[in-house]
């Protein structure tokens, strides 16, 4: 092709290009047909494969899930339908009848948590209890609580060891600190989420709508406490280990591709019960209660013990304190 002047469109010889009548050459037609055929073949093969494993109820549930609204925007009926779908799916996946509650936050309650570092002996019972309570994936071992072992005199977390093998804990010369979601008053994860799939409830718990999360993991990058965990695959949970008392925003079964984290056992605490980690702690190192109640255990600890919070300089205002007594 001779070079044409971009300005006038004429070539060196001064000729203008042929005025185009759109005509298809045979070659072009054949080529086009060939491409179309290839695409159609791929598509047809794909749908044929998909048709092999189809369960109508599951499909209609999946479609309804796809169009489910944000938790805060659902009407009462939509919420009940969403819960029914979750219960049906649990029946299909685990052959277990679960109950998904949706208890609202209690009035005049803001939860707070404290751990005594003198009494924590690194037994990791809290981790075990949390997994049993919250239906976390056993396969990818999602653990909301991380217990770190440090040398006495060491507070630098880079020198902490979460993988200590506790033949007999506490090991000599070590101290232990369990870290889970700090339920910040000023949570960076809530700010980061592009679809507001995570937010802070009036009782202070930062929750996730697992059906709204798109799985971008920006909140995981934003969290300074490594508290948020991602379902990299479908959670593997043996049917006999399923905890059937669940909450929509808490421990009801999740699917892959969404974030999850400690919710202060929202399915328990909104009914007045202690979180599972606290109940399981053999040394009574954990204290939990209502920060707005002046007679609560947590208020006593905050007022009478020397408490501190992790990474306080970041301004996240955690509702999780540590002390030694």
């Amino acid at each position: 092709m001779s070079a044409r002047n971009p300005g006038t469109g004429k070539d060196e010889a001064g000729a203008e290009p042929a005025r185009g009548r759109s005509s298809l050459s045979r070659r072009g037609l054949l080529r086009g047909a060939g491409w179309l055929g290839a695409v159609a073949a791929l598509f047809g093969g794909g749908t044929a494969l998909a048709r092999q494993a189809v369960d109508t109820a599951a499909v209609s549930d999946s479609v309804a899930d796809l169009f489910q609204k944000h938790y805060k925007k659902m009407s009462r009926e939509e919420m009940q339908e969403a819960i029914a779908r979750i219960e049906r799916r649990a029946k299909r996946d685990f052959d277990v009848a679960i109950h998904v509650g949706n208890e609202p936050p209690l009035e005049n309650v803001v939860f707070g948590y404290a751990i005594s570092l003198s009494r924590c002996k690194g037994t990791r019972r809290c981790v075990e209890a949390c997994m049993a309570e919250n239906n976390t994936s056993r396969d990818s071992q999602i653990q909301y609580i991380r217990v770190l072992e440090l040398d006495h005199g060491e507070t630098n977390l880079t020198n902490a060891d979460p993988y200590y093998d506790g033949e007999n804990v506490p090991r000599k010369g070590k101290w232990y600190i369990p870290i889970q979601c700090q339920q910040c008053e000023n949570p960076p994860c809530v700010k980061a989420c592009p679809v507001q799939a995570t937010w802070k409830e009036p009782d202070g718990i930062t929750v996730i709508d697992y059906n709204w999360c798109i799985g971008c993991r920006y909140c995981q990058a934003a969290c300074p406490y490594w508290a948020r965990h991602f379902n990299w695959n479908d959670p593997k949970l043996p049917a006999d280990e399923v905890n059937v008392d669940t909450h929509y925003l808490g421990n009801r079964p999740r699917r892959r591709g969404v974030m999850e984290k400690c919710t202060f056992c929202i399915q328990r605490t909104r009914k007045g019960r202690q979180p599972a980690c606290l109940e399981a702690c053999p040394t009574g190192a954990r204290i939990f209660g209502n920060l707005l109640d002046p007679n609560s255990d947590i208020r006593y600890v905050l007022e009478n013990k020397t408490v501190y919070r992790l990474k306080e300089d970041l301004g996240t205002e955690p509702k999780f304190w540590y002390f030694a007594d």
Binding site: L106, K121, G122, T123, R124, R125, V127, E128, A129, A132, E133, D139, S140, Q141, Q143, R146, D151, H152, G153, E154, T158, N159, P162, Y163, Y164, D165, G166, E167, N168, V169, W232, N243, D245, R268, T269, G272, R273, Q274, L278, E279, A280, C281, P282, T283, G284, I287, F288, G289, N290, P294, N295, S296, D297, I298, Y300, V301, E303, N304, K305, D325
Partner: protein, 264 residues
């Protein structure tokens, strides 16, 4: 020397001794009376003791209050304690013990209570010195001699361990009754945890039901023993942790070098 009156002592001589002897006898009499009366000291009934104590305590100047808000122990939020007696296998003690016979010798027990390990107090006290009530074996006894029920052992422990007692009363120490067992009720291994016992789950709201001290601390050897920790956390399925090397030396290494300790 020769006597002038022929051998008889005159009465005036004895009368002359009286000013000396009489005060002496009176002094001895006055001294003897309190000594003879020393067998019976003043007594006080327990109720009288309590009421006088209450009055004195009410008027005392509190240097350090129990809580930052100035509450005392009696102002702690109300709580109930789970009875401990049902867990005591050898209760009632009077099945064997006779409340009038007390053998308070320091010795190794060879006939009964042979599995008892005593590791409490570092030798500062023995069975009947601080806790057990020789005169009423079905109760414990306070340092002031008042009997304490076995279900309220926390009152006994709180005499020495007053900081823990205060924390216990206000909620900063101890455990509430719940489904997961206290350390003394199960062997310290990685037990499968009881999710199913829904009725026994502990509550933060409502009535406070606490476990008494011996539920977690063996009164004769209270220090909590080392546990077998639950398993090491795993990494994401499909990945493996690559072992690294320890980063640098520990926190005391520079000072240990001076004291001849090992540099890690």
């Amino acid at each position: 020397m020769q006597r002038m009156d022929g051998g008889r002592r005159p009465l005036s001589r004895y009368l002359a001794a009286l000013p000396v002897a009489l005060p002496l006898m009176l002094a001895v009499a006055f001294a003897a009376v309190p000594l003879l009366a020393a067998d019976k000291p003043p007594t006080q009934s327990p109720e009288e003791a309590e009421s006088v104590l209450k009055q004195i305590m009410a008027k005392r100047f509190v240097v350090r209050g129990v809580t930052a808000r100035g509450q005392t122990l009696s102002q702690a939020p109300p709580f109930k304690v789970v009875p401990r007696i049902p867990s005591l296998t050898k209760y009632p003690c009077t099945n064997c013990h006779d409340n009038s016979f007390v053998d308070s010798r320091v010795r190794v027990l060879k006939e009964e209570h042979t599995d008892l390990v005593f590791e409490h107090g570092g030798g500062r006290f023995w069975c009947y010195d601080a806790c057990h009530n020789g005169k009423d074996m079905d109760h414990l006894v306070s340092l002031r001699g008042t009997p304490i029920d076995y279900n309220q052992a926390y009152i006994l422990c709180g005499q020495c361990h007053f900081q823990q007692a205060e924390d216990f009363a206000f909620g900063g120490h101890g455990r509430r009754a719940g489904a997961w067992p206290a350390p003394r009720d199960v062997p310290p291994t990685a037990e499968h945890l009881l999710v199913k016992e829904r009725g026994k789950i502990a509550h933060w709201k409502g009535e406070r039901v606490l476990l008494s001290c011996p539920a977690c601390h063996n009164a004769h050897a209270p220090a909590i023993r080392p546990f077998q920790a639950s398993p090491v956390p795993e990494v994401r399925s499909g990945l493996k942790r690559a072992p690294g090397e320890p980063e640098g030396a520990g926190p005391f290494s520079e000072w240990e070098a001076f004291s001849g300790g090992k540099k890690r």
